[in-house]
């Protein structure tokens, strides 16, 4: 009888005991998070620190700067140059984490953390406590392969396998060797920080580090679908983005 009670007690309390043994209570990131800018008067500890400068290797920096100059000149003429957004192509990792005012949704389980961006309905699947593959073994794509683990109260996500045509941070070029590390940590019950580190030994002189801040959306917020099925922008023969008008 006593043995039965002991086994029953073990079954009931084992999960909690295991968590206690691990020494930490994992924060639950599950929910919808909107971009947090921290306006005037907000708590400075919640505002993200300024980003580290983007330093490209000279052979990549020159064409990058030239491109930026051409973009500025086009904007002065009232024109926008061809780009992925005019073609309605998703942003991929890491840019999808912060698109305009669109929120992200995080669904956290012990085996997988899923991150969904409202813009373009982009999805990152983070497999917990699995080894990362060699970069050359991951099929290049928009989201690559992400694995995660907890370091105390911080969810660390390692992503490789982003193909070079995917929109880069501030339009930076990147090679197949790019590695993105997200460090997600709740700095308060309502504010989440994601410190993103981009390493690319081919393109970058040093890693890029920047932090995004998110605020919990109201609990009843329902994510809105986003399928790009009415893109009226097109790129003309000169590489300029135009708006297709409906004739009548």
């Amino acid at each position: 009888m006593n043995l039965k009670i002991s086994i029953a007690a073990l079954l009931v309390f084992a999960p909690a005991m295991l968590q206690a043994q691990s020494g930490v209570n994992r924060p639950d990131l599950t929910g919808v998070w909107g971009i947090y800018r921290g306006g005037p008067g907000s708590d400075a500890t919640f505002r993200p620190p300024p980003p580290a400068p983007l330093v490209l290797k000279p052979e990549y920096d020159k064409p990058y700067q030239e491109r930026r100059a051409r973009e500025s000149a086009a904007a002065q003429r009232g024109e926008q140059l061809d780009n992925t957004s005019a073609r309605c192509i998703p942003y991929g990792v890491p840019s999808m984490m912060s698109i305009a005012v669109y929120p992200i949704e995080i669904i956290q389980t012990s085996k997988q953390v899923t991150i969904i961006s409202e813009a373009f309905s982009e999805v990152r699947r983070v497999y917990m406590d699995r080894p990362q593959w060699k970069i050359e073994d991951v099929a290049p794509g928009y989201y690559g392969r992400s694995v995660g683990h907890w370091e105390g109260d911080t969810l660390v996500v390692d992503t490789v396998g982003i193909k070079p045509t995917v929109s880069g941070y501030r339009g930076m070029p990147h090679s197949p060797q790019m590695r993105v590390t997200d460090r997600l940590r709740m700095v308060s019950p309502e504010i989440l920080h994601d410190q993103i580190t981009i390493e690319d030994p081919v393109v970058l002189e040093k890693p890029v580090v920047y932090t995004l801040a998110f605020k919990r959306m109201p609990a009843d917020y329902e994510m809105v679908e986003f399928v790009c099925d009415n893109n009226r922008e097109y790129v003309d023969e000169k590489g300029i983005v135009r708006l297709k008008l409906h004739e009548k």
């Binding site: 800018r37 491109r67 086009a74 904007a75 005019a86 912060s98 929109s167 339009g171 986003f226």
Partner: protein, 140 residues
Amino acid sequence: MRILHAKRLQVALVAAAILALASPVWAHHSFTMFDMTKRITLNGTITSFEWTNPHAYIEIDVPDEKGAVKHWSIELGSPSILMQSGWKFNSIKAGDKLTLIINPLKSGQNGGFLSQATLPDGKTLNNGPRQEPPPAPTQK
């Protein structure tokens, strides 16, 4: 050979970056094609309201003072952004008479970006929140 390979990789990466230079500040495109310093008013009848991504559109027939009708295509934000300022998919419908304040296309064509809509019941709706650039990543 190795130098040649490296050069080829560099060219490929730069080419890839050129297409990828989109600003994540706006989900879809910049507003360069619209003259955001100009506002014009259109009074007309809706021919269709498209609740779509990456943008919603109002198609509207606008008669001039002589009675000649010109057709305009007006771009709005996305449904997600519009919902933040009170729009719904059925806020307006074909046949409704509206007053729109728009930022016109710089090209002079009959198109523009919505600034404010006055609905048949007198209610006014704007075009979603005016975003400031997020703290990071920022665009120069």
